[in-house]
Every structure is written in C-alpha cells, then in structure tokens.
Subunit: 336 residues, 2 copies
DNA sequence: GTTAGCACTCAACCGCATCGAGTGCTAACA
DNA sequence: TGTTAGCACTCGATGCGGTTGAGTGCTAAC
C-alpha cells in the first residue's frame, strides 16, 4: 500500500506529533530526522499521504497532523506481533504492589500503578461473578456490645458489617452461631441466601440482627455478582494535555469518567488481549480527542480488563507495554 | 463601626458577588435591591467602604468586590450566633447514609454527601488514635488453602488480610488458634504487638505466616494510630467556578488536594465548632482564591473534622448549614 | 524522481480606535 | 447636611487592519 519512504515519513510525523502536539511541517522532518531528501520532496509525499487519508491539515499554512486512519495503521502494526512482543515495563511493575490479598485492593493498586506510570487516566474492570456462593460466615466479638459479621465467598471476596446486640455475647457462643450459620448457608448462592432470609423478616432480637446483617452483606455481594464494577484513577491527569486546555472540555471528560456507565458499555465486550480505540472509534463525543487501550488479565473463568485513556496523540507503544506488564502481574496475582 | 446603610450595602454587594462572580456597580444595587437612594449616593457609600478596607476595585472602571475583611465581618456575624442557630439542611442529611458501621465508610459517605450538596470540595479528617489496642484476632477458613485473618481494635477498627497456608486447616483448629492469639495479644497496643512479633521473625511454616499477617495488620494500624488521615472528595468541582477557568490554577489546586499533607497542617489544630478561613488566611498561594470551612464532630475523646473548600465567593451561610447538619449526623453515628 | 524558487494562505500577534460600564467630583437642591 | 443630577474620566473588552512567519502547492530546472 504505502511505499517504504511514505511509511517512514508517516511514522516520523506520528512520533513528532505525539511528542510535541504541534502540527508537523516538512522542514521539521528534514531537520530532526535526517532522511536525505529536501523539504520539497517531503511535501510531495505528505501531499500524497493526505490524499490517501493518513494526514490532515488544521489549516493550509500549518503542518500536518496524523489522521485516525494513520494511528490505526500504526497501532495495528504495533499489536500485530502479539502482546508477547512487548518487553516488560520494569518501572510500571515496580509501582504495582504484589502483596495484595483481596480483589478490590489489587484493582485499586493496578489503577494507581497505571496512572502513576502513564500519567493518563486508568481504569480497571472487575467483571461480574454470577452465581457467587457463600463459603464461610463468622461472628467476631467486638468491644461495646457489638459483633463483627464477616462473610467470605467461594471466590475469595470478603465483606463485613458491625452488628449492635444488646447483651455482650462471649466468643464461644459467637463461634457456635457462626458454625451453624455457615452450615446452613455455605454453598448457596448469594441470591438464594437473600431470598431465604426474606422469609425471616420479623424474628426480633439478636437473631434478627444477625440475619439482617447476613442479608445486607448478601445483598451487597449480589449487586457485585451481577454488575461489572469499574475503578477509575487519575482522571484529573487530562488537565496536563494541551488538548484539554479548555476547561469546558476537561469538565465533560471528567463527567464521563465519573459516570462510568458509558465507559463500561464501551469496554465490556473486549475479548482480545489488547484492544485499541482511537478518537471517534470510541463513539462518545466527549472522548473524541481520546484513545482508549484495554488489556485483559486473569485466568480460567475469571477475566478482567485494564485500560488507559489519554489523548489520541498518546505514546501507544509505551502505554501498551505498561498495560501488558501490569496485566501480567494481575494475572499472576489471581492465579495464586 | 459601620452605620446601618453601609452595612446593608456591603451585604448586598457580598450577596450579589457570591451569586454572579461579577464586580458589583452602584447602579446594579439600585436596580436589584430597592434601597431608595440613587446610584450617586451608593457610590459615596461604596467609596467610604473602600477607604475602610471592605471593598476593592479590580480596576477603576469596574464595580467593587468584597475584600477578605468584608467576608470576615460577614462570616463572624454569621457564626457568632453559634452553630445551634443554623436550621438543619434536610437535603444534605438525606444524602448521608446512616446505616454505616465502620469509621472509614462513614468518613467517605460524609465526604460524598458534603460535595453532593455543596458542589464544592469536601474533606473529612479522622484524627489519629494513639495507643490503639487490639481487642480480638480471628482466623476464618477460606477456599483454596487460605485463611482470613481479621483484627479488631478496641476503638472498633477492623482490618483483615488473606494468608496462604499449605494445608487446609479445619475451622475448629483455626478457632483454637484465634483464641490463643487473642488471649496473648488482646489489650496490647498495636505498637507493642509490632515489637513483640519482631522477635519471632524466623519460625517458618504456617505459624510464621499467621504471625507475619498479624504484624502486617498491626503495622497498618500503627500507621493509622499515629497519623491523621484525610478523605477528600469532589476536588474536580473546582472547575465549575470561573475563578478557576485557568487550567494552570485548577491543576495547582488539584495538586494540593492530592497531597493532603499541607491541608492537614492547616486544619489539624481546629478546635472550634465552626472555623472559617478566607482567602489568604489559608496561607497557601494555591488556595488564595479559596475559603475553607471546618466543623468538628464526635463525642468524648474522639473528634474529627468535616470541611468544605470552595472559592472565597462561596455561599457561607448555606455551606455552614450543610456542614453542621452532616457533623451532627456523624456525631450521632459515633456516639452509638 | 528530486529540488530550488516563488507566490500564496492563514493563524498569531500587535497596535489602534471604539464602546460602555462604572467611577469621582462638583454643583445644585431639599 | 445629606442627596442627587450632570459630566468628565478611566480602562477593560471588543473589533479591525496590518504585519509576520511558518508552511504549503506549483512550476521549472536539474
């Protein structure tokens, strides 16, 4: 399609524009990248590239800017080699703490590491886990006539709540109750438990408190088991980019990041190891100057997504490296 | 000091400027607030108010803007009546969920409610709790050769971590270990526990894992017990104000909100039920266009702070109402 | 196929005039 | 003595024309 030189010039333009955010002129290219031809030749090539749809001119006396089609070409080449081709990003790996024991902590740590390293906006999607089952229930005595109810699921999720009881129960009694609760409910899905307990709505007394607590936690988990959750971090980093020097645009961007709903709708179906959406491909007017890269992590039945959102003019190669590195760490974490 | 009419004019100017963010001219006042004198008279009064330091002129042909001294006068009057004088802000109360069982959740919910209602930036400070003691330790069996270690302190804080053990321990055995752990460590401060366990650094095996887990949790709590923690929410709301239409300024603001350190240094010592800091009184150049209102909550030995940060031109009365309302809810929550 | 030369375009910048909101001052009035 | 109408003045905001300079497309020569 494109001959060698055109391709090289296009790559130079992408590279330069990603670095500087300034439209690239023919002289800039001859000066920065010694390519052995004069600006006039470059101009001819650039004119061809524009005719082919790879370049755009903001106005006639400005340099050229890569089009979405150009980024697409560049990115397709980049990821064609497969995620294995990316050498790990040590610095990103170092940001990510490996001694995390719970899903939520891991998701947040991954989001943090991603935006620490990329200086863009990161997102982590933990997929819904339908059919989540209860593994253990345990009551723990607390100071001040209270007890902590802890619920553990088969997938390793933990939720707790404080119950206020009238009399101070001794640990052995709490343990006995815990055992019978676990026996009664272990292996059931959180939805089943919710329905089962709806029947005991008016026992009264301490028993009622305990069952209400179980139901509350089951309800929380039921929501989690049916809804994908997204963590977003570093949304304010968008202010660092000249593309969002306009406060109105920045606000619109932040609003989208906050709602999360539309973000979820976009990424939910991603199945490829690496997916890149560029500019209008995102199909959200607020994000038309943005690109979104997502990678999958997880093993077996459990798959989540990591993503980075930044300006269309982003360092794709480096960002994919960072993402795949953190993805691998997450996969390791979840497979142990 | 100020005669009745001067005072009224000053209040009008503050009110109008808070609403519109536009310097207030003499004709605006006669038009909007029927005060029964001509613009010329207002001008004379405004000239006096400027000489007294209550008004400022951005430039000679603009209207007047209230000075920090004017806001100070206004605010001092406002809070002189004491926090009881503020009728509760029902709408704010409705944003705040009362069925929260843990400190962290409550703090976050309060921060959310505050910025939901004020559309500004909210902060919640939970003070350090030196001498925090361990109340209960409990191991709970988890699927996949793991155990959850839960630590409860005398102040009701809960921390947990997942331990990976080689063999799958049965619940009774875990309970027995929990009881002896609790017996050994209950009543000790988290610092003591940290030091005690440093001695057992190389037992090896499952025992080691458990002790390491306890030490990790104790270390987390030790940090929390010695450091005040601040929750910040809605920092991006600053973009809604024309004062921060400049992206550079907005970024500087967000950076301060992120670091938290300097925020903490400012509010840490607040003891009054309501404290208001206006503009330069905050002594941070990044916040020179901001005001900060804090209120105390809590009972007995436990006192935290709620705060709202917004432009100097903020609706002080309404904001104090919202803050005192949420403060009261928090106090109720903590006294139960 | 490449390149030097040249006319052309257009955003950015600057200076200048205009406009209008708002002021301070003065003199007249109640 | 306090209030007000009138008026000159100030100065930011807006708009306009000219200049500059980066960058282009085209043409002709190599």
């Amino acid at each position: 399609m494109l001959d060698e030189r055109k391709r090289q010039i296009l790559d130079f333009i992408i590279q330069d524009y990603v670095d500087t955010a300034v439209p690239v002129g023919s002289r800039t290219i001859t000066r920065k990248y010694n390519i052995g031809v004069s600006p006039a030749t470059i101009r001819n090539e650039m004119s061809d590239l524009e005719a082919l749809g790879y370049l755009e001119q903001p106005h006639v006396s400005a340099g050229r800017v890569p089009s979405v089609k150009a980024y697409r070409l560049y990115v397709d080449d980049l990821i064609a080699a497969g995620p294995e081709a990316f050498e790990p990003d040590e610095a990103a790996g170092a940001c990510f703490s490996r001694c995390l024991t719970q899903q939520e902590d891991a998701a947040q740590s991954a989001a943090q590491a991603l935006c620490e390293r990329t200086r863009m906006t990161s997102l982590v999607m933990m997929p819904s886990q339908p059919g989540m089952r209860i593994s253990t229930l345990q009551l723990i005595s607390m100071p001040g006539n209270a007890a902590l109810l802890v619920l553990v699921t088969d997938s390793g999720l933990v939720r707790d709540t404080v119950l206020h009881v009238r009399e101070n129960l001794d640990p052995d009694a709490l343990y006995a109750i815990s055992r019978s609760l676990t026996e009664a409910l272990s292996g059931r899905t959180v939805l089943e438990v919710q329905h089962m307990l709806a029947a005991y709505a008016s026992l009264g007394g301490a028993e009622q408190r305990v069952l209400d607590g179980v139901r509350t936690l089951a309800a929380q988990l039921a929501r989690q088991s049916s809804e994908d959750t997204v963590y977003v971090d570093g949304a304010h980093n968008i202010l660092n980019f000249p593309e969002y020097a306009d406060v109105q645009k920045a606000r619109a961007f932040l609003a989208v990041m906050e709602k999360r709903r539309s973000l979820l709708d976009i990424i939910r179906e991603d199945r490829a190891p690496v997916t890149v959406r560029i500019g209008e491909e995102l199909a959200l007017p607020e994000l038309c100057d943005c690109s979104l890269i997502t990678t999958r992590f997880g093993v077996g039945g459990y798959h989540g997504l990591l993503g980075v959102i930044g300006p269309v003019r982003m360092p794709y190669r480096q960002t994919v490296r960072t993402l795949t590195t953190i993805s691998r760490s997450m996969t390791e974490l979840f497979s142990s």
